[in-house]
């Protein structure tokens, strides 16, 4: 694959970097990154990955754009209200960079479709808003051996970590299972400062690109917590847990399953 003059111009600031160069830019152009959720975290990740020239971006989301999304989901604009998020997302990605091919999955990730979808990608980015889905993504990436960039936001707090299955601590190594429904507030119930999605989502995109390029040290074995009130990052070391039900020494989870109802405990959900 050779770049056109226009592409060399477009990606010149990447190509200038010794860690990227033409070779690295080609790796980016050949890469396939899956965004589960085209919302708060998925929006900034999608836009920066599109700008970076990622070959294929997969978007999974079953929802349509709601007016309440626009405070943080910058992939969607006011005229998109009522339209499928995957479609709105695809248009923005390709308006920013027509080099990018976008695969749309207007559905929810489930134990039934996860392997089929995830199998086609190099890296998976978690941008979902509920615990059953976060655990499902973690489990699916473990079984499919796909690197996962996990992210979460709530109120003024954000968290991001990179999980390389069988090498670094997984989500279940720390959080064994979803919390009982209703115990932990969702953004829908508790609110979130919109820009936090941008901070955490762009770190997720950074981690994905680093993995594609093989540059630097991934955010594995560490939870990076961000407190927007203090503008403070804190790193918490996490080790692989030998008792982990998924990736431990005597796993009890041996196949993919839907770990709870994603909408249990939510006060309301937008009608899809």
């Amino acid at each position: 694959m050779e770049f056109t003059e226009e592409q060399i111009n477009r990606y010149s600031r990447h190509i200038l970097l010794p860690e990227v160069g033409g070779k690295g830019q080609k790796k980016i152009a050949k890469s396939r990154i899956l965004l589960v959720g085209a919302g708060g975290l998925g929006s900034p990740a999608a836009l920066y990955l599109a700008a970076a020239g990622v070959g294929t971006i997969g978007l999974i989301d079953s929802d349509v754009v709601d007016l309440t999304n626009l405070q943080r989901q910058i992939l969607h604009h006011t005229p998109d209200v009522g339209r499928p998020k995957v479609l709105s997302g695809k248009e923005k990605i390709q308006a920013l960079n027509p080099d990018v091919s976008v695969s749309m999955y207007e559905e929810r990730l489930t134990a039934g479709n996860a392997f089929k979808i995830i199998g086609d990608y190099d890296v998976v980015i978690d941008g979902v808003d509920n615990f059953p889905a976060k655990f499902l993504i973690n489990d699916a990436c473990f079984f499919a051996e796909k690197p996962l960039i996990h992210g979460g936001i709530l109120r003024f707090d954000g968290r991001v970590t990179t999980i390389i299955p069988k090498q670094s601590a997984c989500y279940r190594c720390v959080f064994k299972a979803p919390p009982p429904p209703g115990l932990v507030a969702s953004c829908q119930e508790a609110g979130v400062i919109g820009v936090l999605a941008g901070i955490i989502g762009t770190i997720q995109a950074t981690e994905a690109l680093k993995l594609i390029l093989g540059v630097g040290r991934p955010l594995t074995g560490r939870l990076l917590d961000f407190d927007a009130r203090k503008t403070q990052f804190r790193e918490i070391k996490v080790r692989r847990n030998p008792n982990c039900a998924l990736c431990g020494e005597h796993p009890t989870i041996t196949e993919l399953f839907d770990d709870g109802d994603p909408y249990a405990g939510c006060a309301a959900r937008p009608s899809a």
């Binding site: 959720g37 919302g39 708060g40 975290l41 998925g42 929802d63 999304n69 989901q73 978690d126 941008g127 979902v128 808003d129 509920n130 615990f131 976060k134 992210g151 979460g152 936001i153 709530l154 707090d157 954000g158 968290r159 190594c173 720390v174 959080f175 064994k176 919390p179 009982p180 115990l183 932990v184 969702s186 953004c187 979130v192 999605a197 939870l223 804190r234 918490i236 070391k237 996490v238 080790r239 847990n241 008792n243």
Partner: protein
């Protein structure tokens, strides 16, 4: 004695991790607890005694994304 809770030194009389959770009014089901970089099983919260200088992390669930 002093223990470090989420990076901040705090006074704690003595007792188990569960005692500390109770003192802080934290529902055990809402957090994962790490002591000195090791995640505790829920059953071990009541039997794990804290020592001077222990580093305790309360990791709250953070589930948002959209």
């Amino acid at each position: 004695m002093q223990v470090k809770i989420n990076g901040k030194p705090e006074e704690f009389q003595s007792g188990t991790v569960l005692d500390l959770l109770k003192a802080k009014n934290i529902e055990p089901q809402m957090v994962a607890v790490e002591v000195n970089d090791k995640v505790l099983e829920r059953d071990d919260l009541a039997t794990t005694h804290l020592n001077e200088g222990d580093q305790v992390e309360f990791l709250f669930y953070m589930g948002g994304g959209r």
